[in-house]
């Protein structure tokens, strides 16, 4: 799968800033990556936990969007693996939870997640969040 490096933003923020989107729903991947790319970020996608960890090691993303409900390895397990990895633990992990499942937040926090976004979310919300993380408040 190909991915795009958007050079323009490198001029604004001096560091690499890849975003990794982990979601098993192809439409969710598509919409999120489309918006973030449109806003000029570098985006990579993964469809399951194992792929997510592989790609995280390879691209060292600044931000990782993690869906909770995934087959075999769920978002929490991925989060735990990332946060316990010395090289990856600096990534900012945002967990995508479902509304009404507030338990997920506690569980996510205990696994070291940095933030949460509740589904269904608006693309604007995501963009704002990414901006605030990458550029500082």
């Amino acid at each position: 799968m190909c991915y795009f490096h958007v050079k323009t933003l490198r001029n604004i923020i001096e560091e690499d800033m890849d975003i990794l989107i982990v979601d098993d729903e192809p439409f969710m991947q598509r919409s999120l990556s489309f918006v973030l790319k449109k806003e000029g970020f570098e985006v990579e996608v993964a469809s399951n936990g194992e792929e997510a960890i592989q790609k995280a090691r390879k691209f060292r993303p600044k931000i990782i969007f993690l869906d909770v409900m995934m087959p075999k390895m769920n978002g929490f397990e991925v989060c735990k693996t990332i946060k316990s990895d010395k090289e990856l633990c600096n990534s900012y992990v945002i967990i995508l939870t479902c509304k009404g499942q507030e338990v997920d937040k506690e569980k996510g926090l205990s696994q070291g997640a940095n933030d949460f976004i509740t589904k269904p979310y608006s693309p604007k919300e995501i963009v704002t969040k990414v901006r605030s993380v990458l550029c500082g408040p």
């Binding site: 098993d24 729903e25 969710m28 919409s31 995934m70 075999k72 479902c98 009404g100 608006s122 604007k124």
Partner: protein, 619 residues
Amino acid sequence: MDHKRKKIYLYLALIGLIPLIFFTGGPESPFRFLYYATLVLLISVFDSKAIFQASFTFCILYGLMPFVKTGKYPLYTVAINVFSFLLMAIASGYLADLLRKEGDSYEKATDIFHGLTNNLNLKIMNLQSEIDSISESYERLQKVDKKRIHFISGISHELRAPLSSIRSFSEILINYEDIDTVTKKEFLYIINSESERLTQLTDEILDAVRMESGKIQWHMDSVDLADVIRTAFRSMIPITKNKGLLMEIDVPGRIHPVRGDKNKLLQVMLNLISNAVKFTPQGRITIGAEEMSDQIKVFVSDTGEGIYPEEKGKIFEDFYRIGDDLLGRPKGSGLGLSIAKKIIDAHGGSISVDSQLGKGSTFSFTLPRSEVISSPDREAKAVMRFSGRQILVLEDYVPMRQFLRVTLETLGYRTMSAESVKQVLETAGIRKPGAILIGYPKSEEHVNELRILSRIKEIPIFLGIIINDEKSGPQLAVNGYISKPFDKYQILSTLGDVYKGRTGKILIISPDSEEARNLQVFIGTNIYETAIVADVHAMNMTRSLPDAIIIGTFHAEDMYGIIGYLRNNPVSRNIPVLLILNISLRDIKCIGLASSGYGSGLGKVFTELEGDIYSVANL
């Protein structure tokens, strides 16, 4: 007062003893003294008038003879002797009588006390079982609640996914104007297909909910499964072709019809086939049917990925979806298979899966062959009278269950039967019957789960002990029920309802002596005379015909035997019979008792019943 009298008699006896000792020679003439003393003792102990009279005569004839004959003693001594003896005898007689009376009343008090203790024990036991059953019901309700919550969270999760897509893509289209036409079209296509998915999901959820609550309408008819399979085959061809899959059909030329809802069975087929299509990346899908000894087997097999053994049990649950990371999770509600299972269960069949990982799966279901092609006349009658409603019959005792079903079906009802409460719960959960009819109930726990079911699903429960009268066919067997725990008032008032006489003989038939004794204590008043037997064959009816009969708690078979014997015997045929039930009648309606008793026939009783069922159903 009695105490005072007793004292007086005691003094009299003592006073009498003094001349006796004096004039019989006392200890110096031990023989005569002993003779008198023994007599007095005998009288006081046995207090028999006969002994008193005999000893009196004896004493006159022999005891006094020597005095008179010898003339040794003056007449007044003799008179005093006789007088003192008499005094003694009378006093001890009264004393003995008094003692006996007191003993009697003591015994009576013990009896009553025993009765009360027994009753109290019974009540405590019943209370205990009530508490147990309530906590059991609570647990069961909690489980139902948990299931419901699981279902609702499942629904919300399933709905959220397509909603998220629709929201995201529509926002993208609104917010970004510089999107090329191809991408725009792609997004619109996604929005469109996701809203379609949402529609399908809502339909399936509605189906599942309807089935769960038993509110679905079933149109049962004779169905040719080969026809259903062919229809499913035809409608799935475009989808399989699209994916490049081969589909084959393997149906024998003629198969026996089954009883079922054609559209629902078609839905099962479509669910199974589309499931197979989803999980088969390449290869073929074979669908077909097989005739078995008393059922028809239908199968859908594929050359797909197969199922993990640990997933086999779960795939028929609501919202369970087989995860696959390589292909991504196929879209679906996760309800398809659970709906299929519910439909097949409601048809009295079973569904299962056989699978080998990597090689493919075979889903198959069996349906019972419809043996009897019911006469259209009866069919129409049943539909007319109950508009598709059914009566679920629960009776452990097999011959009685059969008899009840046959009886109800001759009356024009449709029946389902269940051996156990568990089975009732399963059956009624899927296909809601119009009413549940229970025969002779085993125990309180036995019916408690039914009560919960009845409350949740608004299915009325009726109880009826019905027997086959040799003369006039099926009849209500008894005139009244007494439910445990019973008390004196309940028994007397029920007895008063069925037996109007002011006095009379009540026969208690019970295998349990304690129960019989309790009943006797409660009804053994000065109005009623009671007798207890353990077995109906043990008594001679013609010699002492009872005015009413109470039957205690027996095993179902024995109970039906006893009532059958009583009702088919011309002598006892019309004696009112009360039956003790091992359960409380809370939430349970006894059929026909208010308006009728034995001999009124079932037709009339059930016509009244229908009214009740309708009024409950229309609440």
